[in-house]
């Protein structure tokens, strides 16, 4: 029976992966604009570039654009080009409740995108939890982190969690911890960081940044994550992340507020 089991498993359930060569028809370059800001006092950057061919090893920066940051309070400033498609603001900070707009003018085409800094939702707490052997399938015995927050009543709250351990920010394809209130509006929510990658040792310093996002920015991160982690959208057809830039530019502009907490694993 044991032999049968082995034969069976090997023959039937051995799916196989391999790297293949594919024919790619490259399209014309498309403009990509990325900007991020929060409530800290800081110099913020907007990056402007284009897509490159599939096999290209180069970047393709746009260094001749005019980039402006304005808000709905009547303030605006032109950003300063600093090189490699990067444009910088003066030292400034974002204000909760204010809508910020980035306007990029490149060769006469204007691209615009806005984002409102929402009221930050505070973390309730972050805690470590010990998971004994064989209690949670696929999770080895060890110490892990759990994040608690309470969603304010009313639909439309959107979050992203940034996990760092010992000052290393987790930022791979698998590290988009996105959360919304579609199914748990007004309730306390727990986000658990289980699995090998998140196993904690005594003395580790863990830091959690808890971002409160504008809805369309969340939507961008969500669709971005679908595409880069699964290779396809929920409808089975790959598509570009949902950008809200006008004139078809790719990318996003995220103005957010956040809460932060950290602990040293005992």
């Amino acid at each position: 029976m044991r032999l049968l089991y082995i034969v069976f498993t090997v023959l039937v359930f051995t799916s196989c992966e391999k790297i293949i060569d594919v024919d790619i028809a490259d399209s014309d370059p498309q403009i990509v604009i990325e900007g991020i800001m929060n409530t800290d006092t800081n110099i913020y950057s907007v990056y402007v570039k284009t897509t490159v061919p599939y096999n290209s090893t180069d970047n393709s920066y746009i260094n001749n654009a005019q980039v402006e940051l304005s808000d709905n309070q009547g303030n605006s400033q032109m950003l300063t080009f600093v090189g490699d498609g990067e444009y910088q603001t003066t030292n400034m900070n974002g204000v909760v409740g204010v809508n910020y707009t980035v306007t990029v003018n490149h060769e006469g085409v204007v691209y615009q995108n806005g984002s409102t800094i929402r009221n930050p939702v505070p973390l309730d707490s972050i805690r470590t939890v010990f998971i004994p052997e064989n209690t949670v399938p696929g999770v080895d015995e060890g110490t892990y982190l759990q994040v608690f927050y309470t969603d304010p009543a009313g639909l439309g709250d959107r979050y992203r969690i940034i996990f760092s351990r010992n000052d290393t920010v987790f930022s791979t394809v698998d590290d988009y911890f996105l959360s919304n209130d579609v199914f748990d509006d007004g309730l306390q929510d727990i986000v658990s960081f289980f699995g090998d990658r998140f196993k904690l040792n005594s003395g580790d310093k863990v830091k959690i940044e808890f971002w409160t996002l504008d809805e369309h920015v969340y939507d961008y991160y969500q669709t971005l994550e679908n595409i880069i982690s699964e290779g396809f959208a929920p409808t089975g057809v790959p598509d570009n992340p949902n950008s809200t830039w006008t004139n078809g530019a790719l990318g996003f502009f995220n103005a957010y507020s956040y809460d932060v907490d950290s602990l040293i694993v005992p």
């Binding site: 089991y5 023959l11 594919v22 490159v52 064989n134 727990i190 880069i228």
Partner: protein, 786 residues
């Protein structure tokens, strides 16, 4: 209504009355079981006139008074001959004896020239016996897997139970089991279909020329009938395979009056999982089971009642953390009444249900349950009236109550709210009339019309959208309030013309309406796919198809049949998704949908050797299927996923001896049309593919060869005759067969998915990672019967 009246008047005008003629009617049954023999040929030798029995084994034929020889023939049975003297209307029962043939290779389920005369092009009749010889994955004879080997029909993916017919999508096929629709014909994510071959009697697939009695889907109809139990003696049948086993028993509840058949099947891969020491495996569950049952009861000579049902369930689970089950249930109660030999009626009540349940107990304590499904209640009435030997009128109608349950989340913890996506209700009804007749000796015509109607009714929250998918209005509809009505006129026409006794041409046109669409997450069918009803914002799909075919029989005893069919199909209101559509648990899912037009065209070439020790067929389909949906691909035309340009199937079967048969299938098709990157960029610290044109790339071509071997036991055993003391040959009651098969003999790694990931050795570069599901899959099944 006027149009319908006109049509029916026209039809009635064709009623020709033959005075001075008598009707010979009867029923053809199996001698040992009284099970009706469908599609048997009844032939009056003296007049060279004939008829075919219907699904209930009945026929009727008008003849002038006189003496005749009635010849009845059907594959697998000894020819039957009887002299009769017809001087009044006569009703007879003809009993056919199962012949030696049953053990021989016999592919043809019909008379040599039946297919030529049948005005319907694009019809595929599967022979359950033949099906059992063709190797399929996991060694289980499977209707859907076998049908995918015919031209014009292709599999929706490796091992999938979904299929594409003539460039249509897989939800455009009406899959019926005893008239009840099956909403998800797949088990184990598609590797098995819901059809247990032991429980089946006839299988027909209409790629075109769909009869007006069918409605509701635009691409095809797969009509499967379940076997009736023997009315004569008890029988048992079963099979034991590596992955699943099945068992069937049948027999008389009352001799010659009532019968029962029950067939069950279960997989036991989960038992292997239990053997594993790895807790990840041994706490997992993965199995399915299904049950088919049918009870038939003859009430007097004119009435027959059958009640049949199907129930199946797939269970997947992972210790206490994750439980997922899904399944179909159907039930059909059918009353068959014969008014007289020329006129009969079928009345059916049909229930059909599909449901899936998910329960998650997460380690964080966010426990919840999900439930979603669809349920139908249907009443159906069909009449068949013979207007002459070669003129049959069919008419009737049906009404279906649809209950769509897109999804409901029940919280089992304090961390999640109950959420329910509103149910939807619809009435789908149809009336039809059609006529099949022969004009002269060469021309057959089959025409009719179906009028379908769809009503959306409350309670419902109706959303109206603008072109960008933004809600412009929200209307609350009260209970039973009809808020949207669609009416569809669906003309159907099929014609055949016999050029000579071995050649015919056929032409057909049909229009079909489809009032519900499956929102699929992958295009190949998933248990969690959701059916969406037509509504104010989602218009019903409309399909128009024209086809033309040339059919020929040749060779000694017409041992070969060949055909070429061309078709063009125009499809309106085809669904696609907006960028970033969320189709699960979305109250306003309709806002994520876009509708446009599609078309497909192609040519199907088919040649089959249907007699002799060596049999098989080659099918080749050249086809395109394209779409144009405003809002997708910049409004430009693109290939549908199922745009398989070339599709080749080769099936060969050879009887080495009377007991040993080998078979082989080979399939090849152009890779699916898919969307691949057209560039790349970096954003948010990630390497991201840039997508431009929809479905402009191709998956690698798919090809595969399977082998099968069937070894039967000896038919006779030597037994001592008690009286004479001599040894003699006696037919064995217990019979068994070994079926061996190898799926994917040359271990081709066919791409199931191709995903683009950042190359770990070369950051900033993508690599295309191909996943193949199977290498070689051997299997063995032991089948028995007693």
């Amino acid at each position: 209504m006027k149009k319908l009246l006109l049509v029916s008047t026209l039809l009635l005008m064709m009623v020709s009355v033959y005075a001075q003629e008598f009707t010979l009617s009867g029923i053809v049954e199996v001698k040992t079981s009284a099970e009706p023999v469908a599609f048997a040929n009844v032939y009056i030798a003296e007049l060279e006139k004939g008829a075919q029995t219907d699904l209930n084994g009945k026929f009727s034929i008008k003849l002038p008074a006189g003496e005749y020889t009635v010849k009845i023939s059907f594959v697998g049975y000894e020819d039957f001959e009887e002299k009769i003297n017809l001087n009044s209307d006569k009703k007879m029962t003809f009993k056919m004896k199962a012949g030696e043939l049953l053990d021989e290779v016999e592919v043809l389920g019909e008379k040599d020239d039946d297919k030529l005369k049948d005005p319907t092009g694009g019809i595929v009749k599967m022979d359950v016996k033949e099906m059992e010889k063709i190797p399929v994955i996991f060694g289980e004879a499977d209707v859907i897997k076998t049908i995918q080997l015919m031209p014009g029909i292709s599999s929706a993916g490796e091992g999938s139970s979904g299929f594409y017919v003539r460039g249509g999508s897989s939800d455009q096929n009406l899959v019926l089991v005893d008239d009840a629709p099956v909403f998800n014909p797949a088990h184990l994510l598609g590797f098995f279909s819901v059809f247990n071959s032991n429980a089946l009697s006839t299988v027909e697939l209409f790629k075109g020329g769909i009869s007006p009695k069918y409605g509701g889907r635009i691409s095809s109809v797969l009509d499967v009938t379940m076997k009736e139990g023997s009315m004569d003696k008890w029988g048992f049948e079963g099979g034991i395979g590596l992955i699943s086993s099945r068992f069937t028993f049948e027999g008389p509840l009352a001799k010659e009056k009532a019968s029962i058949i029950i067939s069950g099947r279960r997989t036991y891969a989960d038992i292997f999982l239990g053997l594993s020491k790895d807790p990840t495996f041994n706490s997992s569950k993965a199995y399915f089971y299904d049950l088919n049952g049918k009870i038939a009861y003859k009430i007097g000579k004119k009435d027959k009642l059958t009640v049949s049902g199907y129930f199946g369930k797939d269970v997947l689970g992972f210790s206490d953390v994750f439980a997922f089950d899904y399944g179909n249930s159907t039930a059909t109660a059918k009353w068959n009444h014969v008014f007289n030999s020329d006129f009969y009626m079928n009345t059916s009540f049909i229930f059909s249900d599909y449901v899936y349940n998910i329960q998650i107990e997460s380690p964080s304590g966010t426990d919840f349950k999900i439930k979603s499904g669809i349920r139908d209640y249907q009443f159906k009435l069909d009449f068949v009236k013979k207007l002459g030997d070669w003129n049959t009128l069919i008419f009737g109608g049906n009404a279906i109550f649809h209950h769509f349950r897109p999804g409901e989340i029940t919280s089992l913890s304090e961390f999640i709210n109950d959420t329910k996506i509103e149910d939807r209700y619809g009435w789908e009804s149809g009336i039809y009339i059609g006529d099949q007749m022969r004009i002269g000796t060469r021309f057959n015509i089959d025409f009719g019309i179906r009028m379908s109607m769809y009503n959306c009714f409350g309670p419902a929250t109706e959303y109206l959208w603008d072109d960008d998918g933004v809600v412009t209005d929200t209307i609350f509809r009260a209970k039973n309030e009809t808020y949207k009505t669609y009416i569809g006129w669906e003309p159907r026409l099929n014609m055949s013309f016999m050029i000579n006794e071995n050649m015919s041409i056929k032409a057909g046109y049909n229009r079909n309406y489809q009032y519900m669409t499956l929102l699929s997450q992958t295009g190949s069918g998933q248990p969690t796919d959701v059916w969406v009803s037509a509504s104010s914002s989602v218009k019903p799909q409309i399909g128009d198809q024209v086809s033309l075919g040339y059919f020929v029989n040749f060779g000694k005893n017409s041992m070969f049949e060949a055909s070429v069919e061309v078709f063009y199909k125009h499809m309106q209101n085809q669904l696609d998704y907006r960028n970033g559509a969320q189709i699960l648990f979305n109250q306003q899912v309709e806002a994520s949908l876009l509708q446009g037009t599609g078309y497909s065209y192609g040519a199907e070439f088919f040649i089959k050797k249907r007699k002799g020790r060596f049999q098989g067929w080659i099918g080749y389909t050249l086809m395109r299927s394209r779409r144009k949906v405003p809002g997708i691909n910049n409004g430009e035309e693109y290939s549908a996923r199922q745009d398989r340009i070339h599709d080749i199937n080769v099936v060969l079967m050879f009887d080495i001896t009377k007991r040993l048969t080998i078979s082989s299938t080979f399939v090849y098709n152009t890779g699916d049309a898919v969307t691949w990157p057209a560039g790349k960029y970096e954003v948010d610290g990630q390497l991201v593919p840039y997508y431009a044109s929809r479905n402009a790339s191709r998956m690698p071509d798919y090809h595969r060869m399977d082998l099968g071997l069937i070894l039967k036991d000896k038919k006779f055993k030597m037994k001592k005759n008690k009286e004479t003391g001599e040894k003699e040959k006696v037919e064995k009651r217990f019979r068994s067969t070994w079926a061996f098969s190898i799926y994917n003999v040359y271990a081709r790694q066919n791409a199931f998915t191709v995903s683009f990931e950042e190359n770990p050795d070369n950051p900033g570069q993508f690599q295309a990672n191909q996943l193949a599901l199977f290498r070689i899959v051997p299997s063995v099944t032991w089948n028995f019967k007693f």
